[in-house]
């Protein structure tokens, strides 16, 4: 075995091809920079590889979850666990880490919910008295949000809300029938419900000839064959490859970033899965965008005499301040919709309706808020995915509602009567998900497990994450809201109310798949690895552009902010290249 070293020196090597890596690659390649992108998984082009428009019976498991945790058609290679690539926990931590190893990463299957953070979100300490302020303001980021909106496309409605800034919107899709019931119930509780905001082309994207407009199959999680929604693969990396300036090596698992005697980055070493050989490539600049936790892992594994604590980690903060959204929710069967009308209600595969945080946290026992995501409608009958087989509750619920003859009967059964009940209950489910902001804390972190390596011999991550009192109080409030919504809706609840013994139904950390913060931005090099441009304080030709850069998350889903910040960092690199600083 030997290490295969290339003599070529790239302008930039980007580690990772998701939202953060994809955007940086797109900007740099379009500016004529010679870029090499390393992706740990295989090539994935939604035009060819998407499972869009398949019927459940085209899967032997009818869409089941055996190999893909979000269903057989979901566009994610990977999941909560990956064979031969473990992660460990300490202090009873239960952090859940979702990885997608493929071109475009997790953007191939995400829900396309595309929210801007607001002015107060960038100044958490000042506005809410907890966490830390970002070293940047909303006004500094706004031009990049605007450019991302124009480049990629996002639908929404103009609302003029202070901390939920409007974007440059395509028309919002209309709500489904079931969602209107939830909207009515929420409105009755004084909650302002507005159109969702999603990166789906509900109308043609001006100036873009490569992407088709949405045809409303509601299957964004399978990724879109006509590029009608945003995936980093279809909308950023593949167009960047087409410039001739960006080369991708897939199945390249990065081991470490290499540095020289001056402590500057000089290259990247990786394992090529196809031949299991070791490779090294040379570069003038490195952009790290392997995902929040994987990027921290790479830095911590990149030790040298100049960077004994891991690369860019003189602050000893890399891996710390890991934080994910809080999550809760409820679902109901709406009896008024029994035997409901049939029509194609697929809509878009993102959010039709949502409610931005609507209360004043100063009057509550937790500092930050959460938003509501409303769902429901006549979904394709299927097994697996988020909801499993919708009819699974029918033989339990048919004992709670009168039959066609107006008479009650015992729940359960078999035969023609039961068969008819499945028809009657079909398409009657609706619900709401709550997604909240958690405050970044130093003692929630990932670190290198000193005793465990993966199948490539790379030391793995060990997690330590505990929800705090604020998080639990927020979950308690979510439960109260769920109860109030259920009362207002008048349906049959499908989820039992949760109490203190389960942290009020608070999902395990990581389950939100909004984890951020492990390589945070901050002006003080002693307290944060990155400056406000996403450049490491310790190593000026090393930049980070994924979710790890977040100083503090908000209740807004992070992808749109990752894209805006990555674009800004890439433009900064272009400026610095002109000045010959990197």
């Amino acid at each position: 075995m030997q290490i295969k070293k290339s003599s070529e020196v790239y302008d930039v090597v980007i580690i990772g091809s998701g939202a953060g890596g994809g955007m940086a690659g797109y900007v740099l390649a379009n500016a004529g920079v010679k870029v090499l992108m390393l992706e740990a998984g295989p090539f994935f082009d939604p035009a060819k590889d998407s499972q869009q428009l398949k019927w459940p019976y085209e899967s032997p498991r009818r869409g089941g979850n055996a190999t893909r945790p979000m269903g057989d058609f979901d566009a994610s290679y990977g999941g909560w666990q990956m064979d031969g690539e473990p992660y460990t926990q300490k202090d009873g931590s239960e952090f859940q880490w979702f990885r997608s190893r493929m071109l475009g990463g997790r953007t191939n299957h995400w829900a396309r919910i595309s929210l801007r953070m607001g002015p107060k979100d960038f100044k958490c300490k000042t506005a809410y008295g907890v966490g830390d302020d970002w070293p940047i303001t909303y006004d500094e980021i706004k031009p990049y949000y605007d450019k991302v909106d124009r480049l990629i496309g996002v639908y929404g409605s103009m609302e003029g809300m202070d901390n939920d800034p409007d974007g440059i919107f395509l028309p919002a899709p209309k709500p489904r029938l079931n969602e209107l019931f939830v909207k009515k119930a929420a409105t009755g509780l004084g909650i302002k419900v507005i159109a969702g905001r999603g990166s789906v082309l509900t109308a043609p994207l001006p100036g873009n000839k490569d992407r088709g407009a949405c045809f409303f199959c509601g299957q964004c999680n399978r990724s879109c064959k006509i590029y009608g929604d945003f995936s980093a693969s279809s909308c950023l990396v593949i167009p960047a490859i087409n410039t001739g300036n960006l080369k991708v090596i897939t199945n390249a698992v990065v081991r470490e970033i290499l540095t020289n005697g001056d402590g500057l980055a000089t290259g990247v070493s990786y394992v090529y899965k196809d031949d299991m050989q070791e490779y090294q490539v040379n570069t003038k600049t490195v952009i790290l965008a392997a995902s929040t936790c994987e990027s921290a892992r790479i830095l911590l594994n990149s030790k040298s005499s100049q960077h004994p604590n891991g690369l860019a980690n003189s602050s000893n903060v890399v891996g710390k301040y890991l934080h994910d959204s809080t999550q809760g929710g409820t679902a109901v069967i709406l009896p008024q919709l029994l035997d409901r009308d049939r029509f194609n209600e697929d809509g878009v595969g993102s959010l039709h309706l949502y409610a931005p945080w609507w209360l004043d946290s100063k009057k509550l026992d937790f500092p930050r808020g959460y938003h509501l995501e409303i769902f429901g409608g006549m979904m394709m009958p299927s097994y697996g995915g988020y909801f499993g087989f919708e009819g699974v509750t029918t033989p339990y619920l048919n004992g709670y509602l009168p039959g066609r003859d107006g008479k009650m009967k015992a729940g359960g059964g078999y035969g023609a009567g039961l068969k008819d009940d499945y028809r009657r209950f079909y398409g009657t489910m609706a619900g709401v998900g709550f997604h909240g902001a958690s405050t970044a804390k130093e003692d929630n972190y990932c670190e290198i497990d000193p005793g465990v390596v993966d199948k490539y011999g790379i030391p793995v991550l060990r997690f330590r994450y505990k929800w705090g009192t604020d998080d639990v109080n927020q979950a308690k409030h979510m439960q109260q809201m769920a109860g109030a919504m259920l009362k207002q809706l008048g349906g049959i609840p499908l989820i039992q109310p949760a109490g203190p013994e389960t942290n009020y139904g608070l999902d395990k950390p990581g389950k939100g798949i909004h984890e951020v913060g492990t390589i945070r931005m901050g002006d003080d090099p002693k307290k944060a690895p990155l400056n406000k441009w996403g450049q490491t304080h310790d190593c000026k030709n090393l930049f980070v552009t994924d979710g790890s850069v977040f100083t503090q998350q908000s209740e807004k889903n992070p992808t749109w902010t990752i894209l805006a910040l990555s674009m800004r960092t890439a433009e900064y690199i272009l400026e610095q290249r002109k000045k010959q600083n990197v």
Binding site: Q51, W55, R61, A66, D341, Y414, K419
Partner: protein
């Protein structure tokens, strides 16, 4: 990309979408699918190929599953039976694909046979239709079932769930439910008459 090009790109071309999407090639039933390879990881393809070669349930178990499935979802005026929709084959596959079903199914089928042997002197499939439903009535209604029948309730819940999944995700079952989507269209919201029916026109 305009709409026509979009449809071409996803392989629908100028034919009506419905005909292509729901149609099958001659001699091929939709449910009798080959192992898909496009857009799937190598380990998934290898796993699927392995699973279709394996057999889990024996002939007697499959015969019992077939009888039970058709009792749970019989043919009626609107659609065929569970067997018509090849539900037993689905149950055989899913038990290999999701091994957590194996023990409850195998043990449950045996439990059922022993109950029938004790009560009627025959295995379940050799009982009369009346005897079969007499036994099932004791396990098909969870809230009414006696304490000594709870293992049977657990088995029947699973059997009923797998049967319903198999049926309502088949082409026949989806048509029965009246699902209208999974086809390119233009979503313009809930039809006005439906909104009015539920008093939601101003929501």
């Amino acid at each position: 990309m305009n709409r026509r090009d979009s449809l071409k790109a996803i392989g629908i071309g100028t034919l009506t979408a419905g005909a292509v999407l729901t149609g099958c090639k001659p001699g091929e039933t939709a449910e009798n699918v080959q192992v898909a390879t496009t857009g799937r990881e190598a380990f998934e393809i290898a796993r699927d190929k392995g699973l279709v070669k394996e057999t889990y349930f024996d002939a007697h178990e499959m015969a019992t599953i077939t009888v039970l499935a058709d009792i749970i979802i019989p043919k009626d005026a609107k659609s065929g039976s569970a067997t018509d929709a090849k539900v037993p084959a689905f149950i055989e596959f899913i038990a290999k694909d999701e091994p957590q079903h194996q023990l409850p199914m195998r043990g449950g089928l045996r439990w059922l046979d022993v109950q029938c042997l004790n009560k009627f002197g025959n295995a379940f499939i050799d009982c009369t239709s009346k005897q079969q439903t007499t036994l099932l009535d004791e396990i098909a209604y969870p809230a009414l079932a006696k304490p000594n029948m709870q293992q049977g309730v657990a088995f029947f819940n699973k059997m009923r769930e797998l049967t319903a999944i198999g049926f309502f995700t088949s082409k026949m079952g989806i048509a029965d439910l009246g699902y209208k989507g999974n086809a390119p269209g233009k979503w313009e919201g809930v039809p006005q008459d439906v909104l009015e029916k539920y008093g939601l026109e101003n929501v």
